[in-house]
Amino acid sequence: MAKAVGRPAPARRALALHRRLMRFGQAESTVAEPWVERDTTVQAVAAHLARLWTTPLEGTDSKVTEKGMSHARASVLNLIVMVPDEASASRVVETMIGLGVRHPSRAIILVADPRAGGPTLSASITAHCHAGPEGAEPICFEVVVLTVHGEAAEHLSGIVAPLLIHDLPTHIWWPGDPPFADPIFDQLVEMGDRVVVDSDEFGDLLRGLRRLTTLRRRSGVGDLAWRRLAWWQELTAEFFDAPRFRRYLPNLNRLVIRYAVPSTQKPRRRKPVGSKPVASNVTSPLAGPMLYAGWLASRIDWKRYATTEPLEDGRLRLKLEGRHEMVDLRIEPFETDALTPGELVSVRMRAFGETGAAEFIIERSADEAVVASNADGMTALLRRMPMEQPNESELLAADLGMDQHDPVYEAAVRAAAVFLASARQVDLAG
């Protein structure tokens, strides 16, 4: 094999990228020598995949019992990961390592560059087994890294399709800012049952949200920005679990959401906070607060009524029409370096009831949240809770467990898109 020196720059970069993705294999519990081939064919890759589990593997207990092979194949899911650039590559690797036993049965990591020269297809395959939950058999899976160059990179589905485990759902994770307008996006999405994006990282949030509302996949769309809100949604729902508080829900008349923005305009790079292993680029910090507002609004039937203050410097104010009340919705940036941009900082809700005003407040700092309510003339219930901050692996793992579209999310995205369009004063029908 020729040395890297002297090769055209894009090919060298691609090789470095491939090596970086291979780190994944090395960090994992590989059970066989990695298979690496430059300038290979889809057939060769498929043939190697077919052989992978038929021969006893080193380092595993390969006894064949009456009950079957001892290394059980967890045939649950294919995952295709689209890696747009080198920066995403290391992040994808970190996230995939963090998945642990929640891993898909086969992961295909794609690096495609139609402009690059060199071999059309390079591939590496690693096989892994994780010890399962206590006493259970190891869970085994494989990871395929494919680098596709030249014109073939515009026809990825033909390369990927033969390499999927048949009859399994296929999820596509597209980190970063997916090229919604590019045919390659439609082509890959067509192959998947579910598409997972992170709307925090969209270049144009409104355009992205609108595209999400029209994506029709059998198993729906996953959004890691939405998963980040789960904790907030749980806390919000908790206020209204008790029947005596539930009656305030239709009477809410104010919602103020604050979200984190960096105290200086640059850099907008995510800081590793807590256990978060990966740095990623938040380009749309408004995604979280908009989705939260869209969620609450769609749950309790709030409709857009008027724009009070259009979007400026990350701040907006809308008037919504609730079932009983007009609602004042405010979304405000909050400068802090302790939190990742786009994360919610506080949610405040107010309602008028028979016995006066009620308030429901969730406020967080770096590692703790304070939850308080003041209703029924009762003493404020005040609670401090450790802040749970799932990392990207946990978010992705949770999403991989989803196999159907989520009408709650879809309604939230539609509402968020309407609110954002309204605040940006662009054509609502857009």
Partner: protein
């Protein structure tokens, strides 16, 4: 009907998600209302081994509301701090998620209290009632109470009466009519020792409580596989059409334990395998396996269907007991490489005990679906492996196209539903061995929870405690099920006592039971599986 009853009914009928619109689609779409759980007999083994870990894991998963409070109630003179230590020890040793997360434990332990008292002492119960009122005020538990009776069954009557007398049973029990919350009681097996005692116990419970307030716990029903059995049958188009006498030859239910009686010699010697395992676990498994599709997947419908199965099991005549049951008791032997003393040499067991530690029997379900399909049941202690499974044997293909002269007949197709350990489902069918000849061998298609879903299944107690707090009684046993189970078993016990079929067969520990059990099934041309 009382206000209480109506509330319970409407509660059972509506999923929690429908009541709080924000819960729709959330990970925890069923969140119980704030409540206080009173563990009666809180210093015992059950609290430490099962309840404390289950509550902690529910808390860890965010499944309990922040107001949730635990009150330990027992005779021992403990401080709240000592009681917390007791629970913490249980969690440290038995939780499926370890080590314990300090933050979760801290917020959980804030809501743990202890009330000392004798169970027959009305003043202790009054003090408990006062404490619960204070907790309702301070922690916002809204008058919702869950009593877990972690005490021997002979105390149930007394305790439930005290609950009623202290006004803690809801409006029905003569409590404060303004009382708004719910009150539920969980009781552990055994639910009586025969039909008469079960009826008496049910009557005593219902003097104070409505049936929908009583949650009889059989932890087998909380296991994932048992719930999956319904999904498997009613969520797939493939299996239900063959789930009947036309395609199924026979069914085997095995509940095998490797352990001996391990320190509960005295109580076991009063009970025996039939009443300890068959009355509840086995008959419940059989009912879920054999029931008709319920109208809706709700507590009342499910339990209606289960009790119909039990009603179709005809109680045996003395002659049938003689022919269809085998009693066994283990003598010394080896299990898992360790010597095991004979049952009669166990502490607290009389040296002349003739209590069965093993029972094999054949039930018939006389319904349109199951007529003529034998249900073979065996359960025992000191058997070679620990396994609970239901195995369905399908009928043979009508013509033996592939059998050669002298070759053994083809293996029947088997569908085995494994409840524990390695929860999963296995389908066994014949396949051609590659090569020039036409040799057929059985192969397994094996689905295991552990390798398909890389998530830890919740412990049965987690599922059941949460269900009870939500008011979903689907996985609990209703009074008519308990009584019918005894109607099935009483004739067997009576016949044994009268010397019909009651002969005790000895089997060495570590074997699959006495030879007589093999004869029971082999004389009908079948054999026990070796799971």
């Amino acid at each position: 009907m009382s206000t209480r009853g109506e509330q319970a009914d409407s509660e059972a009928a509506r999923p929690a998600a429908a009541r709080n619109p924000l819960r729709a689609g959330l990970r925890l779409d069923r969140m119980p209302e704030p409540c206080t759980m009173v563990i009666v007999g809180a210093t015992g083994d059950l609290t430490e081994r099962k309840l404390a870990p289950a509550l902690y894991n529910l808390m860890l998963g965010g499944a309990l509301p922040p107001e949730f409070t635990v009150v330990g109630f027992a005779r021992r003179d403990l401080t709240a701090a000592q009681f917390r230590t007791h629970l913490r020890k249980g969690i440290d040793e038995h939780s499926r998620n370890r080590p314990v997360k300090a933050a979760i434990w801290d917020s959980f332990s804030e809501g743990i209290e202890y009330q000392r008292g004798e169970f027959h002492d009305a003043t202790a119960w009054a003090a408990l009632a006062k404490r619960l009122e204070r907790i309702d005020r301070d922690r916002g538990t809204s008058g919702n109470r869950l009593f877990y009776l972690a005490v021997p069954p002979n105390l149930h009557d007394e305790i439930v009466r005290q609950i009623g007398a202290a006004g803690l049973a809801g409006a029905r029990g003569g409590g404060d009519p303004r009382y708004r919350g719910w009150s539920r009681v969980i009781v552990e097996k055994p639910f009586g020792s025969d039909l008469a005692s079960a009826r008496k116990l049910n009557r005593q419970l219902r003097e104070v409580l409505d049936e929908d307030q009583i949650f009889r716990i059989d932890h087998y029903l909380g296991k994932e596989t048992v719930q999956n059995l319904s999904v498997f049958r009613f969520g797939n188009g493939l299996f239900e059409p063959i789930w009947n006498r036309r395609y199924i030859d026979s069914v085997q239910i095995t509940v095998a334990e490797t352990v001996g009686v391990e320190g509960r010699g005295e109580s076991y010697d009063e009970t025996g395998a039939l009443r300890d395992i068959v009355q509840n676990h086995v008959l419940q498994l059989m009912a879920v396996f054999a029931m008709e599709p319920p109208v809706e997947f709700k507590a009342a419908d499910l339990r209606d269907e289960k009790v119909k199965v039990l009603r179709a099991v005809k109680p045996m005549s003395p002659a049938e007991v003689e022919a269809s049951t085998v009693r066994g008791q283990y003598v010394s032997g080896w299990v898992e490489g360790k010597p095991v003393p004979a049952y009669r040499e166990e502490p607290e067991v009389p040296t002349n005990s003739d209590r069965e530690t093993y029972v094999a029997l054949k039930f018939a379900i006389e319904s349109w679906r199951w007529a003529g399909v034998p249900f073979y049941v065996r359960t025992g202690k000191a058997l070679p492996t620990r396994v609970t499974e239901i195995a369905v044997q399908f009928k043979q293909a009508p013509l033996a196209l592939f059998s050669r002269a002298g070759a053994p007949p083809l293996e029947p197709n088997i569908l085995a539903i494994r409840v524990q350990p390695d929860e999963g489902i296995l389908l066994r069918f014949g396949a051609k061995v590659p090569g020039p000849g036409l040799q057929i061998r059985g192969v397994n298609m094996d689905f295991r929870y552990g390798s398909s879903f890389a998530v830890d299944s919740p412990d049965a107690y987690e599922t059941l405690l949460l269900d009870c707090m939500i008011g979903d009684a689907s996985l609990f046993t209703r009074d008519d099920e308990v009584e019918r189970a005894w109607e099935i078993l009483d004739p067997i016990v009576d016949a044994w006592a009268a010397g019909e079929g009651g002969r005790l067969h000895l089997y060495p520990a570590g074997s699959w039971g006495p030879a007589a059990a093999d004869e029971l099934i082999e004389r009908e041309g079948r054999s026990w599986r070796r799971p």
